[in-house]
């Protein structure tokens, strides 16, 4: 019946035109990219992880004919590697806290202020595209032992000896958080945009304080976005070694820095591969936990 009613003079032409639409060919347009990613991303990844199950014979030479878990046994039994893994997790957690504490309020103001939205977005956007090197150079000046921040702290008599900000975990977290913050904000703004302002007015109308309205209404509504932002921050932290190695010094030996050392200094590709796989598994586990958190039912007010 519906087919009959649709086959008017215009309807007939329409369905005929639709029949000409290459339904199958649209799907095939994705094939080149999938093939490309398999060849240049997934295959190299698999090959690389296979090296992690092989034996390093001499610097730069990996014997792939053997299959051994020796590298992983070493990583998980040696307290040195365990401390590196713990430090990596600590670094990721600190990054998430710093980016969350600074990112949510900034995204909220951008979302709710009609006057400041455009200029603040422009600032966030421009800083997101700036080279990490210029950011690191700025932080080197700011955080140095005789830099402006230590000068201010000394002037306020908050500290007598300069705080060790550069070449410490603090410096690494500050610098890396600075690099990710714009992306977190750009992710959170549309999330907060979708929370109707009326919800906050309704909460206020029902007698809730502003703080209560924010914590009990806005934050739960943004839950998925906040977890997404935390995941981006964590994944970024797990993959970055440029900023941590330039600002963190020797005291920030996290997995990415250790992997680079294994590749360029020790030239133990097998161990580098095993450490990379460990890093990947950490990211995967944290992602799965976070996605589970997203799916659980919202906390009721």
């Amino acid at each position: 019946m519906t087919a009959l009613s649709a086959s008017g003079p215009t309807g007939a032409r329409d369905t005929e035109a639709r029949r000409h639409l290459p339904r199958l060919t649209w799907r095939s347009l994705v094939i080149p990219l999938v093939a490309f990613q398999f060849l240049l991303c997934f295959a190299p990844q698999l090959y690389f992880y296979r090296l992690g199950l092989a034996e390093n014979v001499s610097p730069g030479v990996v014997d792939t004919s053997v299959l051994t878990f020796e590298n992983f046994r070493e990583i998980f039994s040696d307290p040195f590697y365990r401390s590196v893994i713990l430090k990596t997790l600590q670094f990721g957690a600190m990054m998430v806290v710093v980016c969350g504490v600074l990112g949510f309020p900034l995204a909220y103001v951008i979302s709710r202020s009609d006057r400041l939205r455009a200029p603040l977005l422009l600032i966030v956007l421009v800083t997101s595209f700036m080279s990490v090197i210029v950011k690191v150079l700025g932080w080197r000046i700011l955080l140095g032992d005789s830099g402006p921040i230590n000068d201010v702290l000394r002037f306020l008599h908050l500290t007598d000896d300069p705080l060790r900000l550069v070449n410490s975990m603090t410096g690494a977290v500050i610098g890396t958080a600075h690099a990710v913050l714009p992306f977190v904000v750009l992710l959170l703004v549309p999330v907060i945009d979708q929370v109707p302002r009326q919800l906050e007015h309704a909460a206020a109308g029902l007698g809730a304080s502003r703080a209560r309205a924010l914590v009990n209404v806005v934050v739960p509504e943004c839950r998925a976005g906040l977890i997404g932002g935390a995941l981006i921050t964590f994944a970024y932290a797990m993959g970055s070694f440029t900023t941590p190695s330039l600002l963190g010094g020797k005291s920030t030996l996290i997995l990415p820095i250790l992997i680079r050392q294994q590749v360029t200094t020790t030239v133990d590709y097998a161990l580098a591969a095993a450490l990379s796989l460990t890093l990947m598994v950490i990211v995967l586990i944290v992602t799965i936990i976070a996605l589970r958190l997203t799916r659980t039912t919202r906390v009721s007010v």
């Binding site: 080149p32 490309f36 951008i110 800083t127 997101s128 700036m130 080279s131 994944a235 990211v283």
Partner: protein, 298 residues
């Protein structure tokens, strides 16, 4: 980078159409400014200062006379800019070439894939979509080291040199750039009305002609945004490129990184300041042309 992924989400809306709250509401909100609001706006202010302060200090320090940049500098000078080593200019050219080649590969592969994913709703569509976007989730350093090992293998087994070549590096840059191109094109293609294409078919245009004269032009600003992001991802990258460049041909960020690892010289600040000013001007020009909304995605 997430900007690229979410960029076209709002693509169908013209910039500046954000609904303004009625004036009465604004008045009420400012009248009842609570401790929570003050805290929120205060932290937001700190976040903005946090974002801008190091950049400001890096730029100022490039003009300081001190051999070891400090703040405040003992005087201002332009001499570090005039003594920029010619190897930096060569590195900048390499980076520029790499960025353009990456943008080209990313466009060729990412645009068709983005359109395909927008129009394919059958079984497997969600999986393939997640698959082509997955390189985004991989730690960049792992991509870099894995590619290095893979290229060594390719050189050994097939006798093809990819390590240290523009093509070899650009291919890996395209691996990390294509997810953003797909992220830019797919939502725009989803929002695209099929009526125009149907009209073209109705008027007798072939599929291929319709694709090139109707579909692609309708998506041009999303494609352009995706290409710009691809270029910038390549142009800025350190963790992947570091492992793939040879000693004689370095990219600008990798050269700056090695320089910074060695020592923080004023020349380094001068080069970084120059790059920062150029990218900022280009980006500001782009937001003028394309609109803040498309570039930022919000």
């Amino acid at each position: 980078m997430s900007a690229a992924a979410s960029a076209p989400a709002a693509s169908e809306e013209r910039p500046g159409t954000a609904p303004a709250a009625p004036p009465s509401r604004i008045r009420r909100r400012t009248a009842n400014l609570s401790v929570a609001d003050i805290g929120l706006w205060g932290i937001a202010g700190i976040a903005v200062i946090f974002l801008l302060l190091p950049i400001f200090f890096a730029l100022i320090s490039a003009f300081g006379v001190n051999r070891f940049p400090t703040f405040p500098p003992d005087g201002l000078t332009l001499k570090w800019f005039t003594t920029i080593d010619s190897s930096y200019v060569a590195a900048a050219k390499t980076s520029l070439t790499l960025g353009l080649v990456t943008a080209a590969i990313s466009t060729l592969l990412g645009v068709p894939a983005g359109i395909a994913l927008a129009r394919w709703h059958g079984r497997g569509a969600a999986f393939v979509s997640a698959l082509v976007r997955s390189p985004m989730q991989l730690p960049y350093i792992v991509i870099g080291v894995a590619s290095l090992q893979f290229y060594i293998l390719v050189a050994r087994e097939l006798d093809i040199t990819l390590l240290g070549t523009i093509g070899g590096i650009a291919l890996v840059h395209a691996v990390i750039a294509t997810p953003y191109m797909v992220g830019a094109v797919a939502p725009a293609a989803t929002g695209l009305s099929r009526d125009l294409e149907l009209a073209a078919y109705g008027l007798g245009a072939s599929r291929i002609r319709t694709f090139f004269t109707v579909t692609l032009p309708a998506l041009r600003s999303a494609i352009f945004a995706g290409a710009v992001f691809s270029f910038l991802i390549s142009f800025d990258d350190i963790p992947v490129t570091l492992f793939l460049v040879g000693s004689e041909r370095q990219t600008l960020p990798v050269k700056l990184f090695f320089g910074a690892e060695f020592s923080f010289t004023p020349q380094l600040f001068a080069v970084a300041a120059t790059v920062t000013v150029i990218t900022s001007v280009v980006l500001l020009a782009l937001t003028r042309v394309l609109g803040l909304k498309r570039i930022s995605g919000v």
